[in-house]
């Protein structure tokens, strides 16, 4: 019985700090009670002034540089509280206690003094740092029967937790006989009373629901050590449990993309796809690669795709045009500034190669190399990223065959290139041979481009790539 009592008492103690908070919030209603309860708050969760300990080397003052916690946060022993600096030394101050931060004595850039209070921590009562007393209250002015203090002229002894339990169950304390010391009403008394009333066997002491938030943070396994797993956020306390939702604001580049893509989808898209046999081009590139390397340039397939597209645009300039906002005018762009979609850490960026119509395949390769290295270093300039008139997206380097690309305004067409696969195909003689096949998926603005135009452009582009020698005829 003795042990049982201690257990229930300690569980009731947890309730106290929580209970007090409830009442603090309802200050308006229970103003008188609140005054009384506030005094009890001090004694139930003891507030300890955590002083700034000696730094060493005779240092007496430091500058507070960063707080890792704020008022109201729970801390465990050894959690980092703040970072202070003194004469080229940065010091991490850690908590000596488990508890809740109640007050920060300094702001950022203030001078803090060794030996003076740094923060006030409300100690977790269960730690037994301070002995716990059941609260004795004088009768409140309000008429709340449930929490009424008087039985037969005596003051009723009951902790706020017990009172709350009584209130929740609509029990008048005056009707309960306390079995605790000095006729103190214990939780068991309330529960037994309830059991008798309903004839039910109540579930064992609802310790689970009483367990305060403080307890739960203790259970976080060595999270402070794992701090390094997380990408540092301004408050570097590990408060996230696994599986918790994380909401972040949409900022910067992402915000701009939201705007662009919303505008893009206002364009009526139509798609057109085809299959290209790159067997000859693959061979050609193998021959030309070492030549380019001698000149210090990496030659991929893209320069060929880009040049072929430009040759095609010469025949079908509507694909290199722009429609104004009111759809009143179409502007045929003179320059073929062909954009190449690049996947970077930030996301999708589209630098463009300027004036492809006057560039050789090698020129395009050089420019692509430059854009690629700038892109991966995060150093592309505004001129590299503006002025595009037509875009190719080589999604195939990551994977995929067919795609449905989204047109990037103010352009009117875009092509997505799938990966090159080795597939069996029939040749003119009806024989099966190994072919290097790539799929292309075009999207175009159906307001000014019709399917036939897109198909003819695609066929022309395809013919240049399937028979690279034919490009020689039309190269300018």
């Amino acid at each position: 019985v003795c042990i049982h009592r201690v257990r229930s008492c300690s569980s009731i103690r947890f309730i106290k700090s929580k209970y007090v908070c409830v009442f603090d919030k309802s200050a308006l209603k229970f103003s008188h009670q609140q005054r009384l309860f506030r005094t009890s708050a001090v004694s139930c969760g003891q507030i300890v002034q955590f002083k700034l300990s000696d730094i060493g080397e005779g240092i007496t003052e430091v500058t507070v540089k960063e707080w890792y916690i704020k008022e109201g946060d729970s801390v465990s022993q050894f959690d980092s509280i703040c970072e202070v600096q003194s004469d080229k030394a940065s010091v991490t101050i850690t908590s000596r206690y488990d508890g809740v931060i109640r007050k920060l004595h300094y702001s950022i850039d203030d001078i803090a003094f060794v030996g003076k209070p740094l923060v006030d921590i409300e100690i977790d009562a269960s730690k037994g740092v301070s002995p716990e007393e059941d609260v004795v209250e004088t009768p409140p002015m309000s008429h709340e029967e449930h929490t009424h203090q008087e039985i037969k002229g005596h003051k009723t002894l009951a902790t706020p937790a017990v009172r709350r339990l009584a209130m929740e169950n609509n029990i008048k304390l005056s009707e309960i006989v306390g079995t605790g010391k000095d006729n103190r009403i214990l939780k068991e008394d309330i529960l037994n009373y309830l059991a008798k009333q309903t004839g039910a066997i109540l579930p064992p002491s609802p310790k689970a629901e009483i367990v305060p938030p403080l307890r739960k943070t203790e259970a976080v396994p060595a999270a402070p050590k794992d701090k390094t797993h997380k990408i540092p956020v301004p408050l570097s306390r590990p408060i996230a449990f696994s599986g918790k939702d994380k909401t972040e604001p949409v900022t910067g580049f992402q915000k701009a993309m939201v705007k662009t893509m919303s505008a893009a989808l206002k364009i009526p898209h139509f798609g057109y796809s085809d299959e290209i046999d790159l067997t000859e081009l693959v061979q050609l590139r193998e021959e030309l690669k070492p030549l380019a390397e001698i000149r210090g340039v990496k030659l991929s397939f893209m320069p060929f795709f880009i040049k072929a597209a430009s040759l095609g645009l010469l025949q079908y300039p509507i694909l290199n045009a722009s429609l104004d906002e009111n759809c009143q005018n179409v502007t045929y762009k003179a320059s073929h500034n062909i954009g190449v979609a690049m996947d970077t850490e930030q996301g999708l960026i589209v630098p463009n190669v300027k004036n492809v119509q006057v560039c050789s395949v090698f020129d395009i390769a050089v420019e692509l190399n430059r854009l690629q290295s700038l892109g991966s270093a995060g150093q592309l300039g505004t001129s590299d990223l503006t002025g595009g008139t037509f875009t190719l997206s080589n999604i195939g380097t990551i994977g995929g065959t067919y795609a449905k690309p989204v047109i990037l305004p103010p352009e009117v067409a875009i092509g997505a290139l799938g990966k090159i696969q080795v597939l069996p195909r029939f040749n003119g003689k009806g024989e099966v041979f190994k072919a290097q096949i790539m799929n292309v998926s075009w999207s175009a603005d159906h307001r000014i481009i019709d399917g036939a135009t897109m198909a003819r452009f695609s066929n022309l582009w395809k013919s240049y790539l399937e028979n690279p020698a034919s490009m020689l005829l039309d190269l300018k």
Binding site: I55, G56, E57, K65, E66, F78, E83, Q85, S86, D87, K88, A89, S90, V91, T92, T94, I108, D109, K225, T228, H229, I231, P232, V233, P234, P249, T251, G252, F253, K255, A256, M257, K259, T260, A263, S322, D324, E325, T331, Q346, I349, A377, G378, Q379, L380, G381, T382, S383, L385, T386, L408, P409, P410
Partner: protein, 372 residues
């Protein structure tokens, strides 16, 4: 012999399944280790790892390391205030923020770094620096080197050859310092000069100093000789073998969790995001057509992100909706040229297609980006 002992210890640590390899817990009172890596992030991560995981009660540690060209700023500093970020990006010089306090330094292979790990109680910077001076004098008795009360080491009473910083934790502490042997002074002075104007901040400022390489005083000196001399002195004072153990900061078995520490040190949030709040108040002088346009810019940057942004432009120079779109997009965005470039160029796609407008937009944005 070094490789042998490493292998043995790694094996033992696997068998015992202890996070600390037995390699660490030798019986002696001290340990000298040297990094095989020249990557500043990896080396800083080793410092973090030792600080967080090692029990330094029985054994103190001296860690020797060198970095490929890098600029290292102190924990509470502002990189925009301290160095020429544009130049760093151009020259591919890394930027790192260390966890200790103090000022900004330039590292290259001609600079050596020494870290003295002790318990918090045994933290004593003066002792460490005196050890270094003693080692230098043992190597070259005629060198005029001494320690100042600002924890610098001066050559010929004039030139700074070493700077110091420290980090104190709950139970352990470390003091690290640099030593200029043969660093590129030209690059050093150009990268440590900030071109950014109008910055107001409470970040720790660096104190510029006249520097000199030991090599300039005595061309026979090399970094290796200096490292060896200091190790010898440390070994003598701690009564341990003059034996330097090589460690590989990429070795996850030896240093479990080290790759996460290395990654964290490279994140934008750490390097730039930890900058104390600052304000930029400056005037953009933009040459447009035949005149020069002045635009006053006022920005608050917190955690490396633009909190508040105000640009004073002549009325109607940019259509008001466009201006507010720009300001709205910049707010909350990283104070970073790359982020801003991609942001403004993407926004341009949904602007009216007007050449005049586009050139004004580009001009303004490029000037804004130059502030970053």
């Amino acid at each position: 012999m070094v490789l042998q002992s490493l292998k043995n210890c790694l094996w033992q640590s696997c068998v015992l399944r202890t996070p600390k390899a037995c390699f660490w817990s030798t019986a002696s009172g001290g340990l000298i280790i040297q990094s095989v890596s020249n990557d500043v992030y990896q080396n800083l991560a080793v410092e973090d790892w030792i600080h967080d995981h090692m029990d330094l009660e029985k054994q103190q540690i001296l860690f020797l390391w060198r970095n490929s060209p890098s600029v290292v700023i102190g924990r509470h500093q502002n990189p925009w205030q301290e160095c020429n970020l544009r130049l760093l990006r151009q020259k591919n010089i890394k930027l790192a923020r260390r966890r200790s306090g103090g000022g900004t330094v330039y590292h290259d292979l001609g600079n050596i770094n020494l870290t003295f790990f002790t318990t918090r109680k045994k933290y004593e910077r003066m002792e460490n620096l005196k050890l270094v001076v003693k080692a230098l004098k043992a190597l070259r008795p005629q060198l005029d080197v001494h320690v100042t009360d600002r924890y610098d080491i001066l050559l010929d009473r004039q030139y700074k050859i070493s700077g110091t910083a420290a980090k104190l934790g709950r139970t352990s502490a470390y003091h690290h310092c640099t030593l200029l042997c043969n660093a590129d002074k030209f690059v050093l002075s150009s990268v440590l000069k900030s071109p950014y104007k109008g910055l107001k901040s409470n970040a720790t400022p660096s104190v510029p100093a006249l520097v000199k390489n030991l090599f300039e005083k005595d061309p026979s000196l090399t970094s290796e000789m200096l490292l060896d001399a200091i190790a010898k002195e440390y070994a003598g004072q701690h009564q341990i073998d003059h034996h330097i153990t090589l460690i590989n900061p990429a070795d996850e078995t030896l240093l479990p969790g080290i790759s996460n520490k290395t990654k964290e040190l490279q994140t934008w949030e750490w390097v730039y995001g930890k900058t104390p709040k600052f304000n930029i108040s400056t005037c953009l002088n933009m040459a447009y057509k035949d005149s020069v346009l002045d635009a006053q810019v006022n920005m608050d940057v917190k955690h490396g992100r633009i909190e508040v942004c105000n640009i004073d432009l002549p009325e109607q120079w940019l259509p008001p909706e466009l201006y507010s779109e720009l300001v709205k997009s910049l707010t909350g965005s990283k104070f970073c040229p790359n982020e801003t470039t991609t942001l403004v160029t993407t926004l341009l796609r949904v602007c009216p297609q007007d050449d005049e407008l586009h050139s004004r937009w580009s001009l303004l944005c490029e000037n804004m980006i130059r502030l970053m």
